[in-house]
């Protein structure tokens, strides 16, 4: 035998990439798939809202006020100002998805950045960051959001920012914990031995291995962002009339709960479905990606 004995004689077994593996597991979870379908439906509705909506969501038809569902061309009825419920709900999906993307985007960006730094460096940096996180977490969550909106002024954009900011601490905690676990791995030590810089280790080596818990949290966070924005709009701190935002729709029609139930109920159901979709998918992802997180 000579030095080339093994050259080219070994074959890498044909196995799947980690992503494909996860997709197969996800497909087997009925609840997660249900969640995914709901979410996809809402995303499609949001993207194609102008094509799908039969009418202008803010156009009023005073004559047709409080028309019940399934009795006229207004399939899901009209609200107290005679606006088409279906169109308003469809445009509401667009707003809710935007809220989710922006709020979660803000929370993810800062949460990951601060969490990685806190977990990777440890020591004093970590201690200071964690005490700040403690302080933020000590406020009741919704109160924190309200305070931020109150400072920034009530508007839909500010509500998104406020929700994003108040979600940051959760991501810091999750990212920090997984970074701390990952940074002890041999592969980090190995890459350090090659001369890799701290930046490279933090964001190119460690972070990709922490994506599992982050994506679970982001999915769940999406749902709660939609819920919170509905809450803020309900309180008058988020979207302003006549925006077809679900929370605002509920708030402005709460007095008709007995007389025209659909005006209050339909946006409520839409909110519930969207949040449910994200929670189902989030729980499914958690089971697959990070069984330790199950509680």
């Amino acid at each position: 035998m000579n030095s080339t004995e093994t050259l080219n004689t070994i074959n890498a077994p044909a196995a799947e990439s980690p992503l494909a593996e996860h997709w197969h597991q996800l497909k087997r979870s009925k609840t997660a798939m249900a969640g995914l379908i709901i979410i996809l439906a809402f995303i499609l509705i949001a993207v194609f809202a102008p094509l799908l909506a039969p009418m202008d969501p803010v156009a009023q038809n005073i004559e047709m006020r409080k028309t019940a569902p399934f009795v006229s061309e207004y399939i899901l009825g009209t609200d107290d100002l005679g606006r088409d419920m279906l169109s308003r709900l469809i445009y509401g999906a667009r707003i809710s998805m935007t809220i989710g993307v922006i709020a979660v985007g803000i929370a993810l960006f800062f949460g990951i950045l601060i969490g990685v730094i806190s977990g990777y460096y440890g020591g004093m940096v970590d201690k200071v960051i964690q005490r700040l996180v403690d302080i933020m977490l000590a406020f009741p969550y919704i109160l924190l959001t309200i305070v931020i909106v109150a400072v920034l002024g009530p508007s839909l954009t500010n509500a998104m920012v406020a929700i994003g900011i108040s979600q940051i601490p959760r991501y810091i905690r999750i990212v920090r914990a997984s970074v701390m676990a990952e940074k002890e791995s041999d592969y980090v030590m190995a890459e350090r031995a090659l001369g890799a810089s701290d930046f490279e280790l933090m964001f190119l080596s460690i972070l990709p291995n922490c994506l599992a818990p982050i994506s679970v949290q982001a999915t769940l966070g999406f749902g709660s962002a939609i819920l919170e924005s509905a809450g803020l709009s309900f309180l008058g701190l988020g979207a302003q009339p006549p925006t077809p935002e679900w929370g605002l729709m509920i708030a402005s029609s709460k007095e008709f709960v007995t007389s025209a139930w659909w005006i209050v109920t339909l946006p409520g159901i839409a909110t519930l479905l969207a949040v449910l979709g994200f929670n189902l998918l989030g729980d499914g992802l958690r089971d697959i990606l990070d069984p330790r997180l199950r509680d």
Binding site: M1, E5, T6, T9, I10, N11, P13, H24
Partner: protein, 334 residues
């Protein structure tokens, strides 16, 4: 088969149904264990040695595992046909098992003396005090220093070697120990501790009249403790014989290759290159019906790719399963 046989496995096939396909983990395996002997099941990762052990005490996770066919006769009963309740009764009494990592098999919240005494209390009628005394006696038997004191320790307070001794004591706590399955019992231990545990196992086997099924990848451990050896490769038995037959006259190309690739082999005293077996263990998913070693074997030809060979008896009790036994024999003078 004579009367001194404790366990006989006949034509056992174990499959695992995974999403990517069927893994034939153990194929057409037959073996027997005599009373009082140590049978070593040796092979590299994926050869099916642990699956074989788990077939005996019915610890194969089902699904995805399926025991497709075969029988495992232990003391005149076919273990594969026994109801779960009967098997559970056998496990821990007549068939015991020690693992590579003893910490995982001991309950961390109970003192080791209590855990040992529990074994007595479940299977025998005696008072708590008697059971405790018995437990201490056993700890002494497995040569744990100051057993009376140690009985009050929790598992985490013991070293790895001590925990393995406790596991062995647990196996001995049964009234009629028959077979101890030792699955890589010393792999996690330091070499000086390993030597002590192997000595202990050999001593005890004679004292309490039990058989040991030793599962290991380490040819050194085999040479030190086994009476007979079964060499497995990719789910198949490829060679079987007494420990002397296997080490003095290894006859299957795989066994030869395995012994030749050991750096401790005397022939490398001059620091020459090791005679490694080229290539890798085949993927069990795609393995055909031929000899699994064919793709790494320098003697292999088309016949080897096509069918698994029948038995070639070389000597009393020494057999190989190889199409090329004649060629191998003529070239492999050690």
């Amino acid at each position: 088969m004579s009367d001194d046989t404790l366990l006989t496995m006949e034509n056992v096939n174990v499959h695992f149904h995974t999403r990517r396909g069927v893994v034939k983990a153990v194929r057409d395996l037959s073996l027997h264990i005599k009373k009082g002997e140590t049978l070593a099941l040796v092979g590299e990762s994926g050869c099916g040695k642990s699956v074989t052990a788990h077939t005996i005490n019915q610890l194969i996770p089902m699904p995805p595992g399926v025991i497709e066919s075969g029988s495992v006769i232990f003391r005149d009963r076919d273990l594969l046909k026994l109801p779960e309740k009967e098997i559970r009764k056998l496990r821990g009494t007549q068939i015991s098992m020690i693992f590579q990592e003893p910490m995982t098999s001991l309950n961390p919240v109970f003192k080791i003396g209590e855990q040992l005494a529990d074994v007595f209390l479940t299977h025998q009628k005696m008072t708590k005090k008697e059971a405790h005394a018995k437990a201490v006696e056993l700890l002494d038997l497995v040569k744990i220093p100051s057993p009376e004191k140690r009985a009050h320790d929790y598992p985490h307070q013991l070293s790895g070697g001590m925990r393995q001794r406790v596991m062995i004591a647990m196996a001995l706590a049964s009234p009629e120990p028959g077979l101890m399955i030792a699955d890589e019992p010393t792999t996690a231990l330091d070499v000086t501790i390993q030597a002590q545990i192997l000595d202990l196992l050999t001593d005890l086997k004679d004292k309490v009249d039990m058989s040991i099924l030793l599962i290991t990848h380490d040819m050194g451990v085999v040479a030190e403790t086994a009476d007979r050896v079964v060499v497995m490769y990719a789910g198949r038995k490829v060679e079987e014989g007494t420990v002397y037959q296997i080490f003095d006259n290894p006859s299957h190309p795989y066994t030869l290759g395995l012994l030749n690739s050991l750096p401790s082999n005397e022939k490398y005293a001059d620091h020459s290159r090791l005679e490694a077996i080229p290539g890798n263990v085949p993927d069990l998913l795609t393995l055909g019906d031929g000899c699994p070693f064919a793709n790494r074997c320098s003697w292999a030809d088309e016949a080897c790719e096509k069918s698994f060979p029948g038995i070639t008896e070389l000597d009393e009790g020494h057999s190989i399963w190889c199409h090329k036994s004649e060629e191998v024999k003529n070239r492999s003078v050690r």
